[in-house]
Symmetry: C2
Subunit: 341 residues, 2 copies
DNA sequence: AGTATAAACTTAAACGTTTAAATTGTCAAG
DNA sequence: CTTGACAATTTAAACGTTTAAGTTTATACT
């Protein structure tokens, strides 16, 4: 049913030359005469030729595709972070004529299978690993397979190639801001302990607190998952006994859940208690009250990760992008007394 | 650097047979003796053989890949709807050993180029079109190219293959609920007019209103984009003069924006004014107050769309999935007086 | 005139599969 | 002991590119 594809052979027949000539003409090789090159280009255009990338891939032994496997808990609970990361990667990949293969898997055996598929069957030239974990088997897997990869993270991941948003300075900014707002009892809802992000975040929070002479100390609470639900639960616990006057959350969704927990217990957000998130997802601006949060340029993260990966693959020879991306604090009503005067 | 791939040729050499024998043995053809088949299977496993899918694709003239191009306004404004749709598609595709190629483009010339790439260069065997528009050039393009596609929509899209969430009954449920809550002045914030969803939604709302003898009539307001920002703006206008006592929005994000607008103007949501969304994104449950909304099983939509596409491609011979998916209303605080007693 | 050089091509092999058709050998039936 | 059938395997071509190496023809230099 589809009109059969035009191949180099067809063009060769049409212009009465060999397939090799046509191929070289179209690729702009120097050893084809300018007239012939023009003729072939025109004929190709007239016949509606488009190269068969599969054949090209076989010949070149490159797929010109990269992969991304989203670690999602379920379809519904997909994190806005990933969407932003994905669009960043997708745009950059498209700019360089690369395909982006996407899978969405729950961490576990399914996920392993997805990596096996992409890596072992060489469906892609490289992968981007999002949200690295402690002793991440994905990193180990790809390393032993010699498949290029780049980690999109919140801290360096030596000795592996990575791009990261500086979570440390982000969290520091949040704490400094809260101190300026005269908050003295700051709690931190930390990422799940199996994430690399956990250690970085907890350390950063600890350092930030230690650097503030006004503060006695901080309370840290962990999550099993960065979701509203978990944020709600964690905040409930924090508020149950000697409630803090500020909460910093490792993720906006968590902050939103925490805010709701506080509200349900009768706290006035921004007055009785301040809440600060991390990420600045689009919704942060539209929560009630609007959420103060650390803006993470997630699509830039994806874009840089993609560029670094393409450089590692050898597909581009631009200078590599900066590895570290600085986040910044966006102050809104959930932490700012002035809004309440 | 990567350990050179094991090919059929290597296995053939190892067992002293021809490449054809090995190929057929591994594919389970009947004309290879059972012993030889076993030997080859074992040898292949020992040598760590994995088929080269590019070669296979060239030979079979199929890519075993499908494409999805997300129409996004920007990385940051990516719609949770697409994420859910994507995971639904991705999971189903993976089940059938298909790759999913994803691109994210702003509607316009970039988007065209993305379709050209995937379609003309035959990088995929088929595509899923999300959020169909009026006189959708994407549909026309794929039709003339004879590339299989399926539309994921909110209504049938004759004569094209489609899967849809029944927006009509969803909106009807919302209106009926509001009437039961004694709302009499119901406004509707409709989708952008360039979407097919627009007509369906407006018609459905009109019919729903007409079927309720208690109601005088409904007010309809349009958007340029289904975002919080636009929802905010639209609601501001609605509330400026003779405010309605209920607002139905075509999208949860829009509803969230509308809710905020109402709150900013001093309305008490759920009391002075009811707000109902469409979609039931995860956040709906965690807004303040929680949002009453029409639950759209978006990942099911993606899953069914994928199955239908695979069937159209001829990759599976299951009976096609049901084309229509029924949404249901989830009542929460933003529309329910009981919460306020 | 003879030789080197260059320009403009063509030939042929390769990438790793799949599969229709051909080949070889074995065995049973006539 | 010939014929035919069948099982097990091989041969060869094909999928559509790319590219190293080879060929032809024209031009320039000695």
């Amino acid at each position: 049913m589809p009109p059969t594809e035009v191949t180099l052979k067809d063009i060769a027949r049409a212009v009465g030359k060999s397939v090799a000539t046509v191929s070289k003409a179209l690729r702009g090789h120097a050893d084809i005469s300018p007239e012939m090159r023009a003729l072939i280009a025109q004929t190709a255009a007239e016949m509606g030729y488009t190269p068969n990338i599969t054949a090209r891939r076989l010949q070149k032994k490159r797929t010109d595709a990269i992969g991304l496997i989203l670690p999602v808990q379920s379809a519904r609970r997909a994190d806005p972070f990933f969407t932003e990361l994905l669009t960043g990667i997708a745009n950059e990949a498209a700019r360089h004529n690369f395909d982006l293969l996407v899978s969405a898997r729950t961490p576990g055996s399914d996920e392993r299978e997805a990596y096996r598929r992409l890596a072992a069957e060489r469906r892609v030239d490289g992968l981007i690993i999002a949200q690295p974990r402690r002793n991440d088997w994905r990193i180990e897997f790809l390393t032993t397979r010699h498949l290029p990869f780049v980690v999109a993270a919140h801290q360096p991941v030596p000795p592996h190639p990575a791009v990261w948003v500086n979570a440390e300075t982000g969290i520091l900014q949040a704490v400094v801001h809260l101190v300026e707002e005269n908050r003295r009892q700051i709690a931190f809802i930390a990422p799940p302990t199996d994430l690399l992000f956990h250690q970085t975040a907890v350390r950063a929070f600890g350092n930030a607190i230690a650097a503030q002479p006004e503060l006695s100390g901080g309370i840290v609470s962990d999550l099993t998952e960065m979701s509203q639900k978990e944020g709600y639960r964690a905040a409930q616990h924090l508020l149950a006994e000697s409630p803090p006057d500020a909460i910093v959350a490792c993720h906006d969704l968590v902050a939103l859940g925490a805010m709701k927990a506080a509200q349900d217990q009768g706290f006035e957000i921004g007055d009785d208690i301040a809440v600060v998130g991390f990420g600045d997802i689009l919704l942060a601006e539209y929560s009630q009250p609007p959420l103060t949060t650390v803006h993470r340029p997630t699509d830039t993260l994806g874009q840089h990760a993609c560029r670094l990966l393409l450089a590692a693959i050898g597909a581009i020879e631009d200078s590599p992008p900066p590895a570290e991306i600085e986040p910044w604090l966006v102050v809104r009503q959930s932490s700012n007394l002035e809004f309440w005067v």
